[in-house]
């Protein structure tokens, strides 16, 4: 009986590790040129950051985490690491690139065109994500 319990524990651990080990780093994401150069028309002020925070907490937090570190409660179940928004690599992108990725999505990252229909809110969430910069 003891042996049985031991093997069950080992099996659970193996399955658990198998799932965590599968998460990979995101592949290069090609953003259309028009979005790369698109200017953010929304002023990066307190009001827009607050609006962006509301949108982020509702739609993004569960995977990307409270501080954008990619450690939200759903993150571990994803096939791809959701990214570290505080990193220099992420913050080095243009506002248009971030907005494109956040709204149109790909693979594990859902499309938010219908859930975030307001253009103002789309740019506001970019302004909020800029606050994660270390």
């Amino acid at each position: 009986m003891k042996k049985m319990k031991f093997f069950i524990l080992i099996a659970i651990a193996v399955v658990g590790f198998a799932f965590t080990a599968q998460q990979k780093k995101a592949e290069v994401w090609k953003v259309p040129a028009e979005y790369k150069t698109m200017e953010n028309p929304l002023a990066n002020d307190k009001a827009s950051v607050n609006t962006g925070k509301m949108v982020y907490m509702k739609h993004c937090r569960s995977c990307h985490g409270n501080a954008g570190l990619g450690d939200g409660p759903k993150a571990a179940r994803l096939k791809t690491f959701p990214g570290d928004f505080s990193s220099a690599e992420f913050q080095g992108q243009s506002d248009g690139e971030i907005m494109y990725k956040a709204i149109f999505g790909r693979d594990d990252m859902p499309n938010y065109e219908t859930k975030i229909p307001s253009k103002k809110e789309r740019w506001a969430v970019v302004n909020y994500m800029r606050t994660f910069k270390k």
Partner: protein
């Protein structure tokens, strides 16, 4: 049970008596808030989003509809009255009422739905159309929606009395919902409604005009507190029977908290209403605010 002697003249007279003060109030509120949202930028004519978290706020409908092509599953639960305290753990072990339903967004502004409620075995078909959406610049200062609900009582026909007809099972609820989002945190709405039952219990009127005032305030980016007050207009000019004031329905107060995520909305609240279906609540509520006849309820919405 008694069939309706519904008079359209009575209804029109009553309607105009409260319509004027209603729109006057609306004009004052809107002119006071005109500059809160006003912007002179490229977003000026964009529709305001997130006036409320979902199409349901406690016991009342809001101007919000599902996105085009989106399904919503609603689970609504009302425990018993809290009056017995620990005896039934504040109503948790008392008889409860449950509704399950689905809504579907046909367009961005139009939804249809179906649901069934445990009490009175009500089958409901409802629809909502939002014909005005508030804009960022307040060039359209309010969102306005029209909501209609048809309920079919599917109990055995013996409960309807001797001269039974299928139409005895039907109850109607229609509501004009006017909402204004003041800023990212605060939204309010006012909603006059008209309820009609083809057949009611003895001395219960068949028609009732009511007004609902409700609102929510965000306390964190994903959590809000909300309230709702429903007042049936028990006006003598509308009475079908001289002594029908003995069966007047009571007003309702609902207050609670709401958590909204991308795919779910959770609402936990206290309320006087136990019927879930709006026409049952408006016409038959006997729970009094002043007597503390409150119960605990929750709504769960799943979007997919």
């Amino acid at each position: 049970m008694i069939r309706s002697k519904y008079s359209i003249q009575k209804f029109m007279k009553m309607t105009f008596s409260w319509m004027f003060p209603f729109f006057l109030f609306l004009a004052v509120v809107l002119s006071a808030s005109q500059n809160c949202f006003a912007q002179e930028d490229e977003f000026a004519n964009d529709p305001v989003t997130g006036t409320f978290e979902s199409g349901l706020l406690g016991e009342t409908q809001t101007t919000v509809t599902p996105f085009a092509g989106e399904f919503e599953l609603h689970i609504q639960h009302r425990f018993g009255l809290i009056e017995n305290g620990l005896e039934d753990v504040f109503g948790i072990y008392a008889t409860s009422n449950i509704r399950m339903g689905v809504n579907y967004g046909i367009t961005e502004k139009f939804m249809l739905g179906y649901g069934y409620t445990k009490d009175y075995k009500l089958q409901e078909f409802h629809g909502k159309y939002r014909f005005f959406t508030q804009t960022e610049s307040n060039s359209i200062p309010v969102s306005v929606a029209l909501y209609g609900n048809l309920s079919i009582n599917s109990q055995d026909k013996v409960v309807f009395g001797n001269d039974y007809a299928f139409s005895d099972r039907l109850g109607y609820f229609s509501q004009l919902i006017v909402a204004h989002k003041f800023n990212d945190n605060i939204s309010l709405q006012l909603a006059p409604s008209f309820t009609h039952f083809n057949k009611t219990d003895s001395l219960v009127e068949h028609d009732k005009v009511a007004i609902t005032f409700s609102g929510r305030a965000k306390v964190t980016p994903s959590m809000s507190v909300f309230f709702e007050y429903d007042q049936p207009l028990n006006i003598d000019d509308m009475r079908e029977f001289t002594n029908s004031d003995q069966t007047d329905p009571e007003a309702n107060l609902t207050f609670g908290m709401e958590i909204g995520t991308s795919t779910h909305v959770f609402q936990v609240f206290m309320s006087n209403y136990e019927g879930i279906t709006p026409q049952r609540n408006i016409l038959y509520n006997k729970n009094k605010i002043g007597d503390g006849d409150f119960l605990v309820g929750f709504n769960i919405l799943v979007r997919f």
